[in-house]
């Protein structure tokens, strides 16, 4: 009924249309005169306009006419994100919304001559612009932390609190990246926001960049809006944790260390689980009040979960609420990568810094575990692989630890132990974010 040849022809035509556009229209002259003529056409009543002219006018509004190479690149990136999520199951709950958001944010539209059709995420009055407020004002990340709190079980951390220190150690990635960014010429607040990529924690990264690198004036310094690149970098590397971490873990550990067996965690009482979020909330935010929006919500969610009397609230927080916010956050963070804003040399630098920060953070966790072993007696030693989970990237890095551990001893399950640094890594990077806010805002 329909030949393959025909199909290819159609694709060909579309391709030609697109190419024509790049070849003829986009070379310098098009932007202003064309744009103006359209505006004129609209504002004055045209006395004779044929459908053909109408078609031409319409063509000037289409994506075919307004596409820049950058848009096509970004759409390809979006497709790649979706592909990764579906094919390799890398963080699908984030990569699918972000990937689709990238595509949506890079559909080209007409905006010459100051005309605002209310389509782009940076155009006032567009839906995306309204939804983007939740990112820009740092509202979505705390709500996500609320849901995370309501689904996180801190038992592993309570039963073996000394593993918490691994979660602190891995935050070295944040501070070294911060210095790196300063060195590369970003100003103080921007560098702080970039550093947080090393926290391996999406909502924290978005939250801090919405405070420190949102395009406004922070502490007397004009910042650029780096929320998009920082968020995309953070999520990309978090998705790639199974690829990034293993080589570093192997490099820094000996065969003997990798097979260390750890004592199974003790059972934790209900009361301890209730007290933990309350104590942790008060302590951590007394130390770093800047972490209040994130850790306040995280532990609030956990209190809802562990109190045992607010099941329905915890349920909603970890289901509908977090899902709705995840959808909107992913979509708008994706769409904020509109090519003309996103494709800059800055973004490339941020990606490079981000990769380094993940490597440093992993190394920091592993090395600190080895350091702790110097002071621990035989039976209490820590398998240094577990240190890699301190970067957070919950729970992927914990699973990487489990997988790596099994490679060297197929009956040595490290997952339970890795959960402790894993969640304490979240606390650690939120504390670090609070510190950055105190110093740099």
């Amino acid at each position: 009924m329909f030949g393959l040849k025909k199909a290819l022809t159609v694709f060909g035509i579309i391709a030609v249309l697109a190419l024509m556009n790049f070849a003829f229209v986009q070379n310098g002259y098009s932007k202003s005169p064309d744009g103006i003529s359209i505006t004129e056409t609209q504002s004055k009543t045209v006395d004779s306009e044929s459908p053909m002219e109408g078609l031409y006018k319409f063509f000037s509004y289409t994506g075919f006419r307004n596409a820049r190479v950058g848009n096509l690149i970004m759409i390809a990136v979006g497709l790649f994100f979706i592909f990764l999520a579906i094919k390799y199951d890398y963080e699908p709950l984030l990569l699918i919304p972000i990937g689709t958001g990238i595509i949506i944010g890079n559909i080209p539209f007409f905006q010459d001559g100051g005309i605002n059709l209310q389509l782009g995420i940076y155009q006032e009055g567009s839906v995306l612009n309204y939804l983007y407020y939740g990112v820009l004002k740092g509202i979505y990340p705390p709500l996500i932390f609320l849901g995370i709190g309501a689904m996180t079980d801190f038992s592993s951390l309570i039963s073996n609190p000394k593993l918490m220190l691994l979660g602190a150690a891995a935050q070295v990635g944040i501070f070294l990246t911060f210095l790196g960014a300063l060195f590369l010429g970003f100003n103080m607040p921007e560098a702080g926001a970039i550093g947080i990529i090393g926290g391996a924690d999406g909502p924290t990264a978005i939250f801090l960049s919405s405070k420190l690198a949102n395009g406004g004036i922070i502490n007397g310094l004009q910042t650029q809006n780096l929320i998009g690149p920082i968020a995309i970098a953070a999520y990309s590397y978090m998705a790639l944790v199974p690829v990034i971490q293993p080589p570093i873990m192997r490099l820094l550990t000996s065969n003997r260390e990798r097979v260390i067996r750890m004592k199974p965690p003790r059972a934790v009482s209900k009361l301890e689980k209730i007290i933990f979020p309350i104590v942790a909330l008060i302590l951590t935010t007394f130390i770093s009040p800047g972490a209040l929006p994130l850790l306040g919500m995280l532990f609030f969610g956990n209190i809802l979960k562990e109190s045992g009397v607010t099941k329905r609230l915890a349920d909603t927080a970890r289901n509908s609420l977090i899902d709705i916010v995840t959808i909107l956050l992913g979509l708008t963070v994706g769409a904020s990568t509109q090519a003309d804003v996103f494709l800059t040399s800055q973004s490339i630098l941020i990606f490079v810094l981000g990769a380094l920060s993940f490597i440093v953070a992993t190394a920091g966790g592993v090395m600190f575990a080895k350091f702790m072993n110097l002071f621990l007696t035989e039976g209490k030693r820590i398998n240094p692989l577990v240190g890699a989970a301190g970067v957070s990237a919950v729970p992927d890095s914990a699973r990487v630890v489990q997988t790596e551990g099994l490679k060297y001893d197929s009956s040595n399950h490290l997952l339970m132990h890795a959960m402790a640094p894993n969640v304490s890594g979240v606390i650690g990077s939120a504390v670090a974010a609070g510190i950055m806010m105190s110093f740099l805002m």
Binding site: D89, E91, P92, L93, L94, I144, G147, I148, M151, T152, D153, S155, S156, A200, D201, G202, P203, M238, A267, V268, K270, K273, G308, K311, R312, A314, D315, R318, N319, I322, D323, T326, S392, A393, V394, P395, D396, R399, L415, M416, M419, V426
Partner: protein, 117 residues
Amino acid sequence: MTLLFETPEFLAQGITIAITGYVIVFAALVILFYVFTAVSKILLSRTKRHLAREGRLHQIKEDEIEISGEVSAAIAMALYLHTLLHDEESGKLTIKKISKNYTPWSSKIYGMRNFNR
């Protein structure tokens, strides 16, 4: 108005508002009471007429309609006591839900210790 000895002006005004307000709240619920009693009467008489037309009125005595209320009260009571005893049950369902798993950092298995809650 001088309801109380030497009431300051604003208090006098307040008393007016309070009395008026209380009367209106009563009025609202009294009207609702009358109207809804009327509505119920009309609905009931319509139902009766309907049944009468079908010649089944003799089958249902007024008492029976009211008795069904008694039964329902008994069931309600049973339910009430039941829920008092088994309030915590809902928790079990929750556990299953959690295993649907999600974290914003990653979307795979998480919270695998939920079982010992």
